[in-house]
């Protein structure tokens, strides 16, 4: 197992290198640059800025330079927020995004699985239809509709929560963002769980167990759930990578200082270093969570072996 993990880490290195390369050159061929803005700059001043940020050097040299710095763990300064380095921005924002993402993910997995199992056990009954209906709704209504509705109802009408802001991480400020982040995930998890649970319940060994008079509860927990978990795990990997790195919509609407917004803003602002930083960050998360998924697979399903 350890050897497998080690090998996976080794293969991740060329993957990251290719991604960094693609992103670097893709970003540079995009029209416009970090210093284009409504108040256009005088060419002399723009040239000065480009010199300060080494943008006047040949592209290949900038690329080599970037890779060298990256190896030293230096993401460089942000072009559009020169007071901060990219690492500064991540250091400030990542804890926020990780907290929200982790809470949303855990809630989605727990509640979603629960709902899914409940619906599966009552297949084709009212409960089932209700769960499927609500779950489908949750995944079809865009987040940017749910979030303002939450603000209008819970913050402005009921005054239970603040409209927005992080409030230094106060619990009450997290409720809205977490729920909004969670809802679409919860919907997908519930649907997945229901589907795989039904399949699992139909499997021979489960039918046998039930026929032998084992209680529903113990059948579900001991036997059916084990098999049903696999699709959830393979879904949860990429979902975790996406959730933990933040969501631009939730962060913008709830005024949350996470890193999710940088993924969009940096690309739109042509903040080259910040873009590269976000690309590396997400890629690392994806690689990491894919690995975790594979390991979990081996844990849950004894048939899977990695040597």
């Amino acid at each position: 197992m350890l050897r497998y993990v080690f090998r996976r880490f080794l293969t991740a290195i060329p993957t990251l290198l290719v991604i960094v390369t693609i992103a670097f050159f893709l970003m540079r061929v995009a029209p416009g640059g970090p210093f284009n803005q409504e108040k256009g700059l005088n060419p002399v001043i723009k040239a000065n800025l480009e010199r300060v940020f080494h943008l006047d050097e040949p592209l290949w040299r900038q690329y080599i330079h970037y890779l060298q710095n990256l190896l030293r763990g230096d993401f460089g300064p942000s072009y559009n927020l020169p007071d901060f380095t990219v690492a500064d921005l991540f250091r400030a924002g990542l804890p926020v995004s990780l907290q929200l993402g982790a809470m949303a993910l855990i809630l989605a997995l727990v509640i979603g699985s629960g709902l899914g199992i409940w619906a599966a056990l009552r297949q084709n009954q009212l409960t089932d239809y209700a769960v499927v209906g609500v779950a489908t709704a949750g995944s079809t209504i865009p987040t940017f509709v749910i979030a303002p509705l939450f603000q209008l109802f819970f913050a402005l009408t009921l005054h239970w929560f603040p409209v927005g802001g992080w409030g230094g991480g106060a619990f009450i400020n997290k409720v809205g963002p977490v729920l909004t982040l969670m809802l679409p995930q919860l919907a997908i998890v519930a649907r997945l769980m229901r589907g795989s649970m039904i399949e699992s319940l139909h499997a021979h060994h489960i039918r046998t167990a039930r026929a032998l008079g084992l209680s529903d509860y113990s059948v579900v927990i001991r036997h059916a759930l084990r098999g049903a978990l696999l699709p959830i795990i393979s879904y949860a990997g990429p979902a975790a990578a996406a959730l933990l790195t933040g969501s631009v919509i939730v962060e913008t609407i709830f005024s949350i200082p996470g890193v999710g917004r940088y993924f969009v803003e940096a690309a739109l602002n042509r903040d080259y270093t910040l873009v590269m930083g976000t690309v590396v960050l997400i890629a690392v998360f994806i690689v990491l969570f894919n690995l975790i998924v594979d390991i979990l697979y081996a844990v849950v399903d004894p048939r899977v072996r990695y040597d």
């Binding site: 993957t15 995009a30 509709v145 509705l149 589907g195 690309v279 890629a283 994806i286």
Partner: protein, 374 residues
């Protein structure tokens, strides 16, 4: 996912996979009604705009953000405002107006002689039509015009620019559905070709091809899509071809897996031994067996693309004006909340119900085509 009782009565003719699947699908009420709804929605969006009596680009200057109503516009209280507006824009003074025999009589005065072209100002207002000069004082300083009220129906209200929401919602539906289908198709075609090739060729080629998929998997999706918008933003067809070209990874993996397992099946190996050429095997055995997962995946992909498009719209990267999509309309409506709520409620309803239907069809198809459940 419905429990269809399995009949063990030997059929006279072996039921094909497809007939069987179709029977199961028909038995699934939710999926069937969803399919009807989807067809209805598609027809509505394709043909509806021809029957709404409004162009999707026409701006009704006096009807910005009017709420949905089944009675005709203008509402009685709007006439006064419209008269004042029209007269003020023509830079003359309004002496008064009255309604007589279904016609509106407007009297205006000015310090300078009034041009008779003034009627065009009144006509320009979306409230009036057929304006004529009735009476003119000798010194041309006073003018009486008669005009009739032009009735308009806005069943879904109008948007911020004063365009009919009904027509725009339907036009947007065309775009949203087209985007979903287009990107879905592109993803499926690339995914199937890529996955099938990898699976069948196998060996080193397979390894390399799947490495490429792994790498693309780790490429941040949002970044990639934003770059695509930046490059292809002026043409939404091109753009969603491009989006489709990013979404094929899952498809490729699924198809490759299927292909690998099918290749090992006895009947395929038998066919190979019998000297049936590769294409023959592909078409006769492989493709039919792949269709199930592909169709299911496609029904899941289409809503995914439509949601993605709405996300891009929220970021201001959606389709170009004057075209629109449900995503664009919803994100505009969301920015207006809590005022003018029809701007968000109507497109949201269309989008959500359509996605609902697509989801149910996807579920239904999965149940119907799932060989294990047969």
């Amino acid at each position: 996912m419905t429990d269809v009782p399995v009949t063990h009565v030997p059929a006279e003719k072996g039921r094909s996979l497809w007939a069987d699947a179709w029977a199961r699908l028909k038995a699934n009420r939710a999926a069937l009604w969803s399919a009807y709804y989807l067809v209805f929605m598609a027809l509505l969006c394709v043909f509806g705009p021809w029957f709404t009596s409004h162009q999707f680009t026409t701006i009704y200057q006096d009807y910005n953000r009017v709420p949905p109503s089944f009675s005709a516009y203008p509402k009685p209280e709007m006439i006064d405002l419209a008269v004042k507006d029209a007269v003020q824009r023509s830079r003359v003074q309004l002496a008064g107006w009255e309604e007589r025999d279904g016609k509106i009589l407007i009297t205006i005065t000015s310090a300078k002689p009034i041009d008779e072209r003034m009627t065009r100002y009144i006509d320009r207002s979306s409230v009036f039509e057929g304006t004529q000069v009735v009476e003119k004082s000798a010194d041309s300083l006073k003018l009486v015009m008669s005009t009739s009220v032009e009735k308009q129906y806005f069943y879904f209200g109008t948007d911020n620019s004063g365009r009919d929401m009904l027509t725009r919602t339907l036009m947007a539906g065309r775009v949203s559905l087209a985007i979903g289908l287009l990107a879905g198709l592109v993803a499926v075609v690339i995914g199937v070709l890529y996955g099938a090739s990898a699976g069948f060729i196998g060996g080193k080629t397979d390894e390399v091809m799947m490495r490429v998929v792994d790498i693309l998997y780790a490429l941040p999706f949002i970044f990639f899509v934003i770059m695509l918008v930046v490059f292809f933003g002026r043409n939404f067809v091109l753009m969603f071809l491009a989006v489709g070209a990013v979404l094929w990874l899952d498809m490729a993996r699924i198809v490759r897996g299927q292909a690998l397992s099918i290749k090992r099946q006895e009947y395929v190996q038998a066919a190979e031994a019998l000297g049936v050429n590769r294409w023959g095997i592909l078409i006769r055995h492989i493709v039919p067996n792949l269709l199930g997962p592909v169709v299911i995946y496609m029904t899941l992909l289409v809503p995914q693309v439509i949601i993605l498009e709405s996300f891009l719209s929220y970021l201001g990267l959606g389709v170009q004006e004057p075209m629109s999509s449900w995503g664009v309309m919803i994100s505009q409506g969301a920015k207006n909340m809590p005022s003018a709520n029809w701007l968000i409620a109507i497109p949201s309803f269309f989008l959500t119900t359509t996605l609902f239907a697509l989801n149910f069809i996807g579920d239904g198809l999965r149940d119907a085509l799932d060989p294990k459940d047969r």
